[in-house]
Amino acid sequence: MKMHDAKRIEIIIEAIMERRLTDILIAAGVTGFSVLPVKGGSGRTGQWSRAGQISRAEGMVAVVCLIKPERLDILLEAIFPVLDRHIGVVNITDAKVLRVEMF
């Protein structure tokens, strides 16, 4: 079966910034993405966990999307202002997709 090249972008960002990030993704034409909860982890300020938390201040979410390779730079430029000053990680991996017309 024929596979097509794509880029998988995974952005782990503070939960409080989720809406701002997804608004930019939609404005940039990325209408397909998934938001996943992050239960806990560890970073420069030490370990953290969502267990028992009621404030959104400390939580993180993972936003995952797949796009065509030629749209990568435009998208990264669009999301950079949201990510710039905040805790988080952006990683991009090469991926293969079956239905290229979906992206």
């Binding site: 503070e14 300020t45 969502r50 404030s55 959104r56 201040a57 000053r85």
Partner: protein, 338 residues
């Protein structure tokens, strides 16, 4: 349990100690202590995030509804509007006091000091809920609209702190419409004000209909919620070792007393009842750990959350819960001749 009537003839210090002892041995405080001890002992006891959020939603709904029903029962007077205004002024003004105190007493940066100051102008709704529970146990009535005052005190402190930063030339995110919407329409405020309105509209008939849900289980849920708060506070304290200095801790103990004094003065000017005075003192003495930390992460991402969350939840919240509220009851009783 000793009521405030039997305490009123005691020496003020005896009264404070007696109230503190009674308070310390109440289920809600013991549950909080259990949470802190379990966290410090590195127990794996924990509440799922959804359960903790569910309990906080329940408590906000119950306290808002009961406050609204109380207003329907007793009616509205000019004091309600004056109390709301006083709440806004206290919330907007206290960050300036906190910021000045932090800059004099501690070595926190301007950014961290402003973020902490915003927390101390805003309020902790759980401390407020605990205070109403303690007042009820002491048989002290309070104005139902204090719930609305609590809601009004959530946001102005954030505006003051950001204004303070703008005056120092620091790089804070401007107060855009998205941030303003998040502050004013955060879930806690919407639920508190909304349930208050429903309680007001439906009155005591509405309250009777849902009393088995919002009255009888209230203290049990509050106990479990404070157990969770104890766990979160204890784990926060362990993570914050070396992050906050002794002087910063001292601020976390001094600022509630300054806030409570301002609340007492405002309540005296407003002519609030003993219960209302204690609640306004408690609100002014408490520090936010739901709405403001989230707003600070958006507006001041470079400010260190370990500092403001540890101070708010690890220092000031336990202080108010265990010693502060009994102290405010005793002082208000002494000042008002209760």
């Amino acid at each position: 349990m000793k009521s405030v009537d039997t305490l009123s003839g005691d020496h003020p210090l005896d009264m404070i100690l007696s109230l503190a002892a009674t308070n310390l041995l109440s289920p809600i405080i013991l549950c909080f202590v259990l949470g802190v001890v379990a966290a410090l002992a590195r127990s794996d006891l924990s509440f799922p995030e959804a359960v903790a959020k569910g309990m906080s939603l329940y408590l906000l709904f119950a306290i808002g509804f009961k406050g609204g029903a109380s207003i329907a029962d007793h009616g509205v007077d000019a004091r309600l509007l004056a109390s709301l205004l006083a709440g806004v002024v206290l919330s907007a003004g206290l960050p300036f006091v906190a910021f000045g105190l932090l800059r004099v007493v501690t070595k926190l940066s301007v950014l961290d000091a402003a973020a902490v100051a915003a927390h101390y102008g805003s309020i902790s709704i759980v401390t407020f809920v605990a205070a109403t529970s303690i007042l009820q146990a002491q048989g002290i009535a309070s104005e139902g609209y204090m719930v609305a005052v609590a809601a009004a005190m959530e946001a102005p402190a954030i505006v003051s702190a950001l204004w303070l930063l703008s005056r120092t030339g620091s790089d804070a995110r401007s107060m855009d419409s998205a941030l303003m919407r998040e502050i004013l329409l955060n879930g806690s405020i919407v639920l508190l004000v909304g349930s208050f309105a429903i309680g007001w509209i439906t009155g005591n008939d509405g309250l009777r209909e849902i009393a088995p849900f919002i009255t009888a289980p209230f203290k049990g849920v509050l106990c479990l919620f404070l157990l969770d708060m104890g766990l979160v506070a204890g784990r926060g304290l362990m993570r914050a070792k070396g992050v906050i200095s002794g002087r910063v801790v001292l601020f976390g103990l001094m600022m509630p007393l300054i806030g409570a004094s301002a609340g007492l003065l405002a309540a005296s000017l407003l002519g609030l009842s003993l219960g209302g005075t204690v609640l306004l003192m408690t609100l002014s003495a408490s520090a936010s750990y739901i709405a403001v930390p989230a707003a600070m992460r958006v507006a001041l991402p470079e400010a260190n959350p370990a500092v403001y969350l540890t101070l708010s939840l690890g220092i000031t919240f336990p202080f108010n819960l265990v010693l502060g509220i009994p102290l405010y009851v005793a002082v208000a009783s002494a000042v008002m001749g209760g």
